[in-house]
Symmetry: C2
Subunit: 123 residues, 2 copies
């Protein structure tokens, strides 16, 4: 993308669907659990309310990143959430871009710390 | 925070003001330029329109993360944006949390890749 070349800090690869803070927690929880996680486990891991988790899962399901299966454990309904193949691939791409943000910022913050003229408090 | 202990993926440290994708680009641009950047330079570095950049700068100024000075270069008005001390400190905290997200995800993604029972396509 030309825009990205001209604008090194536009971070076009930060997919907004994934970047939202709660959804980032959901995706991180799910990538470590290929067999899926129950709604209750996800809720606990991400510190979300029922309503918030439902709303964010719906966005992730509609965009094809997460699959949601409803079944029964004995007589109790069980909701299982897992990443789709596309969800996993897109999340790994997102993480690569996130790593670039961290690296960019660390690089430039270090340069300005090291230059006493630019930052008199720097080491 | 108890909530954070119970919910390892809640990422409470991801300050929403900074986490927004365009503002993340602005903060990254500014942390490398302690003397500040002109509105025009920021616009180019972040690939934003005038309207978008103005709107996001206003949020960052209102929350005390960025200082905006208006002066003249000859007869031309010049807008200079720079991080405040608080902005710099809060951005470094944010980056530490962002690094944790990248590390968490890399750790769990690696574990699930390595387990052929969990991920038959894994290496």
């Amino acid at each position: 993308m030309t825009r990205e070349t001209n604008a090194p800090y536009s971070y076009d690869g930060l997919d907004r669907v994934i970047h939202e803070k709660a959804r980032l927690g959901i995706m991180t929880s799910l990538i470590g659990h290929p067999k899926g996680l129950s709604f209750a486990d996800l809720k606990r891991l991400c510190g979300l309310t029922d309503g918030n988790l439902s709303r964010h899962l719906q966005v992730l399901e509609e965009t094809g990143l997460v699959r949601i299966d409803k079944s029964f454990e004995g007589k109790r309904p069980l909701t299982t959430c897992r990443l789709t193949g596309e969800g996993r691939a897109r999340f790994l791409d997102y993480l690569a871009e996130l790593e670039r943000v961290v690296r960019d910022a660390a690089d430039v913050a270090e340069i300005s710390d090291r230059d006493p003229l630019l930052n008199p408090r720097g080491a």
